[in-house]
Each structure stands twice: as C-alpha cells, then as structure tokens.
C-alpha cells in the first residue's frame, strides 16, 4: 500500500470525527506550544546574556593575580604577596599577535566638582581601552599614550557622571577632584546603558599608575589583552603563561579567556533551557496519553471495519500501519498547530513586553515535533496492534 493512501485513509477518519480530532490534537498542541515557548524564553535569556557579554569586546584574554583554587571570591584580587604589575602588562603587550594590553584596577571613590559629590567606580586603565573593550568616546578624546609613571592627571567620564556633575555645562576642560587630587576632564564616553545589571556609564577612567597610588596598592586587579582575530587562542594563552612564569618564577596568576566565560555561561543557560524543555514535555506526555486513549476508543468503534479490511485482503501489518498513521497524523497536526501557536505567543510576549528576550530555539522546536510524532506513534502502537491481532471473523461478528 502507498504511503499517500495510508495518510489519505487516516485523514478521512480524522475528518469524520472532527471535534474529537481537534481536541486530541489540541492536547498535543498545548504540550508543543509549552516547549516552544519555554525554550524560546530560555533561548532568549541565553541570547541576551551572550549579547551582553560580547559588549565587553571580542578576542579578549584576561590575567588576574593569584591562582584561583576553590570557587568563590579570589582573595588575590584584593591583596596578594605576588603582585601583577604595569610592567607585566607592558611585557605581555610585546608578545606576538597581542594587539592591546590594558592594565586595570577598580575601586569606589567620591568624585567632587564644586559642592557636588558622587561616589562612583573609578577605573585605572591605559590609553588602549577603546581598542580593547567595546567602548567609544563620545566627546573629546580618551587618555593619551604616555609612559605609565609620567601619566598626567586626566580623566575620561561616563555619561551618568556627565549628567550628574555637569548638568548645565560642557565637561571638557573642566576639573574634578578624585581622592583629593585634581583631574582634568578630556573626554566623555558614549552612553552604553546597563550591561549585566551594571551601569556602564557610572564609571570614570584615570591612568592606571595614578589609580595604583590613589588606592595605595602595588598590584593590578587584571590585565586585559586583545589578540588578532583568527589566531589560535590556546597558543596565545600558552605564550602569556610562559612569559609570566618567566617573570614571576611560578604560576601565581589566573588566565581566563572570554571564550571560556561565554562557553561556561552558554552551557549553564543551555542546561537551563533543556530543563525547561523537559518540564514542558510533561504536557507533551499527557498529550500522548490522550492520543492513546482516543486511538483505543477509535479501534473499539471500528472493530467491524477492521474485519472488513481483513476480508478485503488487508494484512495485519497494513491494519497496524493504518492506525499508526492515524495516530501520527493526529500528533503531527497537533504538533504543527502547537508550534504555530508557540511562535504566536512568543511573538505576542515580545510585542507586549519588549524587554523580555525571546529567541525561538529551532533545534528544540524540531525535536519537539519529532517527539510529538513519536509519542503519537507509540501511543497509537498498542491500540493499532490490538486492532491487527483481532481475528477477522470475530471482528466481523462483533456488535
């Protein structure tokens, strides 16, 4: 028998009891819609986080002092006996394929202008920040390229600081007091908004050497290195490791690549999406029970018909396949309907709450469709084999 004929016959019986078909398919559809929608939300979160992370720039490897052992806060960032220095940063800069090297230290300080004071995050860095992190200067310029120890008291401010401290005047050329020292504003960064819940505009940038002395420390918190796109990251990490071990005598630092972080984050969110998909499949399973029930009823109602088919020369296999097809078409239809309504609801959610990230996960959508059809066939299998096992004479005699 031809496959098209199987589906033709299946469709004819599904069309015959329309309401029943719709309701059974609806059961599957709800399950599929749940999976599609939930994974879209999970995928949206994943996509969002990735997007946020890539805002920090690409191809970045960062080096932090101290060897992190157990999870938790590495005390080494706060204080350590083996400092990571500006000289380390400069030395790493000279490695092949390293384009930029940003030594960094961060702290919180009050910034004063006249009688206005604001506590903010003060970052000690160097002139290479705009080429390393995905940040752009809006007005003026970024810190100049000067030897670290001779860096002048220049400051570049974030947009929030500009708004708070210079509400009416142009900030360029004005002076600010940071930790009791005078700094001249030479640039304002472009507005960046929130990244991972941090206000990226509530930051000021000063030369790293100045920051080290402000905080009275001898170690950087981090060195960020950007390498040439397309080069083997592992090789570059090895070079960095070797160079620092040469300089420090031991491996007293930790190297993390951005890919690592994104990879870890991605897999965590991936697991989350999978769990959510699993929870959604409970409904799919219940929908499968629905198909099982309805197919059992259908077999019961059509015992005579099964007898007739056998009398007409249908084999057991053909009878089994007929009912299996019916179950598969039933669940397939429900699956398509569920998929479409899942898309619809996802789109609607995105439309109503634009802040909610939604991202259709096609792999899960396709998997859910396959699971739906397989569920349908498994659920149809028992009734179908029951139909096929019937003796034709008994089937014809039944009332």
């Amino acid at each position: 028998m031809r496959i098209t004929d199987y589906s033709l016959l299946a469709l004819s019986s599904l069309k015959y009891s329309r309401l029943r078909t719709y309701l059974t398919a609806l059961g599957i559809a709800v399950g599929i819609a749940a999976v599609v929608l939930l994974t879209a939300l999970g995928g949206g979160a994943q996509h969002y986080m990735m997007g946020q992370f890539s805002q920090f720039g690409a191809n970045i490897i960062s080096v932090a002092p101290g060897k992190t052992t157990t999870a938790g806060i590495s005390g080494a960032i706060l204080s350590n006996v083996r400092p990571l220095t500006i000289e380390d940063a400069e030395s790493l800069h000279r490695l092949p394929n390293i384009i930029t090297s940003v030594p960094a230290i961060q702290g919180n300080l009050p910034i004063e202008r006249g009688n206005r004071t604001r506590w903010t995050s003060v970052l000690g860095i160097n002139h290479e920040v705009p080429d390393t992190w995905a940040m752009e200067v809006g007005q003026g310029r970024f810190l100049p390229n000067e030897p670290a120890e001779q860096a002048r008291n220049f400051v570049v401010i974030g947009d929030t600081i500009r708004r708070e401290l210079f509400p009416y005047t142009k900030p360029l050329g004005e002076f600010l007091r940071i930790g009791g020292e005078r700094y001249r504003v030479i640039g304002v960064m472009k507005k960046k908004g929130q990244v991972l819940g941090l206000d990226m505009d509530d930051i000021v940038y000063i030369p790293v050497y100045r920051a080290l002395s402000l905080y009275n420390r001898d170690s950087l918190m981090e060195i960020d290195l950007r390498y040439t796109e397309g080069y083997d990251e592992e090789q570059i990490i090895n070079n960095i490791k070797q160079r620092l071990i040469e300089r420090h005598g031991s491996e007293d630092f930790t190297i993390t690549s951005q890919d690592d972080i994104i990879g870890t984050l991605g897999s965590i969110l991936g697991i989350l999406t999978a769990v959510v998909a699993g929870l959604g499949s409970i409904s799919l399973f219940v929908g499968g029970v629905g198909i099982f029930t309805i197919m059992s009823i259908a077999v019961n109602e059509r015992i005579k018909e099964i007898g007739l088919l056998r009398a007409l020369g249908a084999s057991r296999r053909q009878v089994t396949l007929l009912f299996l097809f019916e179950a598969a078409v039933l669940s397939g239809l429900g699956g398509i309907f569920g998929m479409l309504s899942g898309f619809g609801i996802a789109w609607l959610l995105h439309y109503v709450i634009p802040a909610l990230p939604v991202n259709i996960q096609w792999d899960y959508v396709i998997m859910a469709e396959i699971i739906a059809i397989v569920t349908g066939m498994i659920a149809g299998l028992v009734p179908a084999t029951r139909a096929a096992k019937m003796e034709p004479v008994d089937a014809l005699r039944s009332e």
Partner: protein, 401 residues
C-alpha cells in the same frame, strides 16, 4: 435523583470502560504529581538556602568599604576605597550595645607551604570575633586568641581541606607553616562542619589581622563582619555602624552595609517565584488532561445517545442529565487528582531518599491548589459534554443507532 444514586450511575459508566477511565486517571495524575514534585523541589531549595543562611546566623551584617550611588548592580565587593576601614574602626564599633561581635577581615591570597608542599590559598586576616560571629566549629586546637587584634602574632588556623593537602593525616597543630615570606605556627584546625554558601573556609588559612597587614603590606580592611545582639537589634546596629563610621571618617558615609536577613529575603523571594513558575509549567499538563477528559466525555455522550434519550423518556429533567455527566467528569478529575497527590508525595519521598541532604518538602498550598485546580478542570471541561448531553432531543437520541 439522590446524590448517591448520581454517583452510583457515574460509577457504572466509568467501570464499564476501565481502560479509558484508567488512562484519564493516568493523565490527570501525571499532571498533579508533577505539580507536587516540582513544588516540593522548589520549596526544598528555598528551605535549603534559608537553612544555609540560618547556620550563618541571620544577625550578621557585612561592612564593605566604599559605596556606589547607582542602585542595583553589584555591591562593591572587590572595590577599594581611599578612606580605609581600619582595625580601629572595628574596635570602635564594639562599643555599640546593639553589636555583639566585630570581626575585621583582610582578604588576600598567598602561597602556603609546609615541607615540600605548596598551595596558593585565600588568607583571612581576622580576630577571635570571627569564630564567634560565624560560629565556627574547631576540629582540633584553638582559634585565634581573644587579645588585642593589633598584635601581629605568628599563628594561624587552617581549614580542613588545606590541612589535608599539606599534612595528609599527620598532626598539624604546633607545626610551622610558611605563608608568603613569613612563618606561622598552626594553633587550630577548622572542622568540616559549619561551612555554608559563600563562606567556604575549608581551603583557607586564618591569621591575626595585624599579621595580614604586614603580609600584604596594607593597613586597610577588606571588610568587617558584624554580629548583632539578636535579630531585633539589627536596625539599631546598622544605624550605630553608619553613625560611628561617619564620625570617624570626617562625615563621609563611605561604606556599604549588606544585611544577611535582607539577602535571605531576596533569595527567598527569587526561589518562591521559581517555585510558582515550576508549578505553573507543570499545571499546563493539567490543562492537557482536562482537554482529554472533555474529549472522552464527548465521545461517551455520543456513544450513549440512546441511553440519554431513554433517561429523558423516563422523565429525567435536563438538569439531572447535566448533573449526571458533570459528576462523572468530576469523579474522574478528583480521583485523578487524589492519585496524583499520592504519586507526587511518593516521588518527593523518593527524591528525599536519594538526596538526603536536600530538604524536599511538599508545601501544603501545592496539594490544596492542585486539588482545587483539578476540580475546576473537571467542572470546566466536563460542562461542555454535559450540556451537550442535556440538550439532546430525546426522540432523535433514541432513534440514533
């Protein structure tokens, strides 16, 4: 018709088709059971986290140097600040009557070595108050002595993991370790117990705060851990801290205070929401089960047309037919719900058995809610077939074969 007769009628109809009835019960109970199990897990997570905070003591306050004006975002956990927090600041806080203990803390990392073994670990510079504030149990020896924290004694207390790594099973008390460039005598060993989220001290060495100042060559604290005298003193303790520090720092309120109880509340809120979300997702399957009930009831209405016609011919009013079918749907859904609750409770017990440290707990509201939802499901999805049955024309119903 009496209620009992109505139920009896339904029972006959349901037992006439045992497979069908069982399948509906299965569908319904899967939905309910998953609601119960998932909420049990969510509730368990909530209990687990609060228990963890509880062991830390909810009377704790953390004082961090520096502050940020923008609300939201991370507290300045790693930030440094020019107006240092000092050991003197810590000592001055002790004068407040709302405060029981103040542990000054300098955090840092340094290589710790013994014989040929070396390990880079987190170093806690602190005082005897740390033990009291965090309620740290000792496995052997003593904690730092209760003397002036400005004494830079060369003694240390090590976590149980660090002890294992450096000494294996040999005795550590009394041995001399090298931390950075200085030598310290081990006077105590922390027990593995009493560790909790965010406060894992097993791979650390604790030295007097003054020794840490020398080791790391700095005179500022990374943070202070304050324990209030009872929960009711928390607000007063917070106010006292702010006032004292402001006074000492020339009028600058340049610190951030994190309260254990508000942290707990945040976590609690998040986990509560999560539990609700889980229950919601699981409840979708209840809708699917409801659709199945409706579907099967519709089938049985059309299969029992002549029976309905007969009932009407015998003088059953429309309302009675409606009640008959509705009660059938309700019996199905409630029975499914009750079975589901039992399966769910058993599942939760099983999870509790396999993860003994995790306090799986089925919230009563989940049981009540899922039973109520079950009844509503039965009513809603049963009403359509029931009204269809009730509206049947008896003449047509009887003539239909």
């Amino acid at each position: 018709m009496r209620i009992l007769d109505t139920l009896g009628f339904g029972k006959i109809a349901l037992t006439a088709n045992p497979t069908r009835t069982l399948l509906i019960l299965l569908a319904m109970s899967i939905g309910v059971a998953s609601v119960i199990i998932l909420t049990s897990l969510g509730e368990g997570a909530r209990k687990y986290v609060s228990a963890q905070f509880e062991t830390l003591g909810s009377e704790l306050l953390f004082i961090l140097p520096g502050k940020r004006e923008t609300t939201g975002g991370l507290p300045p956990l790693l930030g440094t600040s020019p107006k240092d927090l000092t050991i003197e600041d810590a000592l001055s806080l002790k004068r407040s009557r709302a405060i029981a203990y103040v542990a000054p803390v300098i955090l840092g990392a340094a290589p710790v070595s013994f014989a040929s073994r070396e390990r880079e670990v987190v170093i806690f510079g602190s005082s005897s108050d740390l033990k009291a504030a965090l309620d740290l149990p000792m496995a052997a020896g003593h904690f730092l002595p209760d003397d002036d924290p400005r004494n830079a004694a060369s003694i240390c207390v090590i976590g149980n993991k660090l002890k294992k790594e450096l000494f294996d099973n040999k005795k550590a008390i009394g041995e001399w370790l090298r931390i950075g460039e200085r030598r310290f005598r081990v006077i105590g060993e922390l027990s593995a117990k009493g560790q909790s989220v965010g406060m894992d001290l097993s791979d650390t060495a604790i030295i007097p705060v003054a020794s840490a100042e020398i080791l790391f060559n700095k005179a500022s604290l990374s943070r202070m851990i304050v324990k209030a005298r009872g929960k009711e003193s928390l607000d007063k303790a917070e106010a006292d801290i702010l006032r004292t520090i402001k006074q000492r720092h020339d009028g600058d309120e340049d610190i951030t205070i994190l309260r254990q109880d508000s942290l707990l509340q945040t976590f609690d809120g998040v986990l509560q929401t999560l539990t609700w979300a889980l229950a919601g997702i699981a409840a979708i399957s209840l809708i699917v089960a409801g659709i199945l009930i409706m579907n099967v009831m519709l089938v049985s209405v059309s299969q029992r047309k002549s029976e309905i016609g007969l009932l009407k011919a015998l003088g059953a009013p429309t309302r009675q037919v409606l009640t008959l079918f509705l009660s059938e749907a309700l019996m199905l859904s409630i029975a499914g719900g009750i079975i589901g609750v039992f399966i769910g409770l058993a599942g939760a017990k099983m999870i509790a058995y396999f993860i003994p440290n995790f306090p799986v707990q089925t919230p009563l509201w989940a049981i009540a809610a899922s039973l109520i939802v079950t009844i509503i499901t039965g009513l809603i999805f049963g009403s359509i077939p029931a009204s269809k049955a009730a509206k049947l024309n008896p003449v047509l119903a009887l003539s239909d074969k």
